[in-house]
């Protein structure tokens, strides 16, 4: 593994220009994806995880716009590229898989044509080669009888099969990075399991890195190497998946894990109080502060910076400020 990460996102800030003012949706987000790894970006709706993906692809539409930060892909700053150069990157170097397999495919073209199009647009193949590659890719994503299915239209396929087609399209140009935004959320649990297995296999087979965006900590536990937890536009905790899920540091991560049913049947669940703050109405200081069971004076002063809490593990929480007189109330918290 090279020292330089495949993608380094530095201080990414994406804002929406709304009538009431400019609202940060992604607020000073930094993370990196190393070659060959799967990073999970987990958060609730409105946490900014999808906008982070669109920002990396430079696909944010008005009223949104990227207001700051750098996107270093293989050492090159994507935010400095013009639209034409960026178009070369999309699909060829970084591919995006959307959540809704129903709307991401064009209903009037066969799935074979849509996969071939990706190759033709990037000048990777002749028509005949592209058609042959489409069949190979469909076979690779385990669509039975690929040679005839290649002539099917999207409506002839089930949701799970359509998601396989999208994965095949994403892999067509052999990108180095695939961003999958909630790739299994619209699917049934048994189909979800098959698609997650497929993503894992494809990652190994095509040597791609994966940014997996999801709200489901179960999917995270099964699929990723490292995880970044987003809340209200900020990454509040990052670390390798095992310590983050087994020994969560940020009170939000702890609350999310605790609220999942799994304890004694019939018991009340450990709910997080309150609701996700509205865009543009973030509390001062830590955005999770008003809902946090561990809040104290420092939490309202300013948004907390990253404090290291373990190997490769950090949390934006004043509980881990080494200079604070306040002691961590949770004996199980790792440092």
């Amino acid at each position: 593994m090279a020292d330089e990460p495949l993608l380094r996102v530095e201080h990414l800030t994406t804002v929406f220009n709304l009538p009431g003012g400019t609202v940060p949706v992604v607020d000073d987000v930094s993370f990196e994806i190393r070659a060959g790894e799967t990073l999970g970006l987990v958060g609730e709706s409105g946490s900014g995880k999808s906008v982070t993906a669109l920002s990396i692809m430079r696909l944010v539409q008005p009223p949104g716009r990227v207001a700051g930060g750098r996107l270093l892909f293989k050492g090159r700053d994507l935010s400095a590229l013009d639209e034409r150069a960026m178009r070369e990157v999309r699909g060829a170097d970084i591919a995006l898989i959307f959540q809704e397999p129903m709307t991401a495919l064009n209903p009037v073209f066969t799935i074979g044509d849509q996969i071939a199009e990706t190759l033709l647009v990037h000048g990777r193949a002749t028509r005949a080669e592209a058609a042959a590659t489409a069949v190979e890719l469909l076979d690779a994503v385990r669509i039975p009888d690929a040679a005839s299915r290649v002539r099917d239209y999207p409506h002839q396929l089930s949701g799970g099969m359509r998601q396989r087609v999208l994965i095949a399209m994403a892999l067509a140009c052999r990108p180095a990075l695939v961003i999958a935004d909630e790739p299994t959320t619209a699917l049934d649990v048994t189909i979800q399991a098959e698609i997650l297995d497929l993503l894992r296999d494809m990652k190994a087979r095509f040597h791609v890195s994966l940014l997996l965006i999801t709200h489901d900590l179960g999917v995270i536990a099964e699929t990723v190497d490292r995880v970044a937890v987003m809340y209200a536009g900020r990454i509040v905790e990052t670390g390798p998946v095992r310590p983050v899920l087994r020994n969560p540091n940020h009170p939000y991560t702890r609350g999310l894990l605790a609220s999942i049913p799994g304890g004694a049947p019939g018991q009340r669940l450990n709910a997080i109080e309150g609701s996700v703050p509205r865009l543009g109405a973030l509390p001062s200081g830590c955005a999770f502060g008003p809902r946090c069971p561990d809040r104290f004076d420092a939490c309202t002063t300013a948004p907390p910076p990253d404090y290291p809490t373990g190997v490769d593990h950090a949390a934006k929480c004043y509980l881990y400020n080494p200079h604070s007189a306040f002691r961590i109330p949770h004996s199980d918290a790792s440092r």
């Binding site: 609730e44 709706s45 049934d188 649990v189 048994t190 189909i191 979800q192 399991a193 098959e194 997650l196 297995d197 709200h215 489901d216 900590l217 179960g218 999917v219 995270i220 536990a221 099964e222 998946v241 095992r242 899920l245 087994r246 609350g255 999310l256 894990l257 609220s259 999942i260 049913p261 799994g262 304890g263 049947p265 019939g266 018991q267 009340r268 669940l269 450990n270 709910a271 997080i272 109080e273 609701s275 996700v276 809902r291």
Partner: protein, 292 residues
């Protein structure tokens, strides 16, 4: 006597004939029988297209069943006249999945919750207003927000409005159709806790329709697993989760992603050919039935 008794419920949807195609009948619900005891939470689980939502709707006759019986306190609802059915619905209400589309965006929260009282001509205006404020408090909403419109509430609060509306007529039986699946993870637990509290306080009986098996295991006493319109397994939740008998149930349980990176994973893939569609439910242990 069970509170609700569904027997041999069938619902066929007819797909119209096209120019080159004969009309076809699809059995969305195919000979489904189960009963729910007073005070219990009965879970109906299955994937999309399994017929669980149609079964729930048939029980309230929101969708007219093709055949079968739905007995509520011993009386078969399917023989009721429209007027009698309207009366019966005071006892049985439904909460829908999506709190974004199930509330009329042009109506204030107070009007939404009050509407069932107006339809059933219950109480004077002042008494109704008092009842609405009481319902708001019951579901954990601030009565100061009565005059707000749905878009001014969060998803969790909207689902509470749907619940207040369903409770307005003091029903004894609620059908909860995926009541928390559209909500944020951190808010789901609040609504689940509220449902459990309300059940205790108001002695409610629930039919809980869901695809989230972790949640179903947590709150249901008994469950039925539906697959392609049929119940393939039925019994105490603890027994089914501990020892699933039907191949579909086994595949379904093995596919649940657990938020534990060290959990053992033994994924079972269902081979549709291994399912004997004609098998009848038989009792494998006390109260635990499987179509194997």
């Amino acid at each position: 006597m069970p509170l609700v008794d569904v027997s041999h419920l069938v619902k066929h949807f007819v797909r119209d004939a096209g120019l080159f195609r004969a009309g076809t009948r699809v059995a969305a619900v195919d000979d489904v029988s189960f009963s729910i005891d007073e005070g219990e939470t009965f879970g109906l689980v299955g994937e999309s297209g399994s017929g669980k939502t149609t079964t729930g709707r048939c029980m309230l006759r929101l969708v007219e069943p093709t055949s079968g019986e739905v007995r509520f306190r011993g009386e078969n609802l399917l023989g009721f006249s429209p007027g009698r059915m309207r009366e019966a619905r005071r006892q049985m209400q439904i909460v829908f999945q999506d709190p974004y589309s199930s509330l009329n965006p042009r109506m204030r929260a107070r009007v939404i919750v009050e509407e069932p009282l107006v339809i059933h001509k219950l109480g004077e205006r002042a008494a109704r207003r008092e009842r609405v404020a009481e319902l708001f408090q019951l579901v954990g909403l601030d009565p100061a927000h009565l005059e707000r419109f749905p878009h001014e509430f969060s998803g969790g609060q909207r689902q509470r409005i749907g619940l207040a509306r369903a409770l307005a007529l003091n029903p004894s039986f609620l059908i909860l159709d995926e009541p928390v699946s559209a909500l944020d993870v951190s808010v789901q637990a609040q609504v689940v806790n509220l449902l459990m509290d309300l059940q205790e306080r108001l002695k409610l009986t629930y039919l809980f329709i869901a695809h989230d098996l972790r949640l179903v295991e947590h709150i249901c006493s008994r469950i039925a697993v539906m697959y392609l319109g049929k119940i393939v397994e039925l019994g105490p939740a603890a027994a089914i989760f501990a020892s699933p008998q039907h191949p579909y149930t086994r595949a379904l349980l093995s596919a649940i992603p657990l938020p534990d990176p060290d959990a053992p994973r033994h994924r079972l893939v269902l081979d549709p050919a291994s399912v004997n569609r004609a098998a009848a439910l038989k009792e494998v242990s006390t109260g635990h039935w499987a179509a194997i």
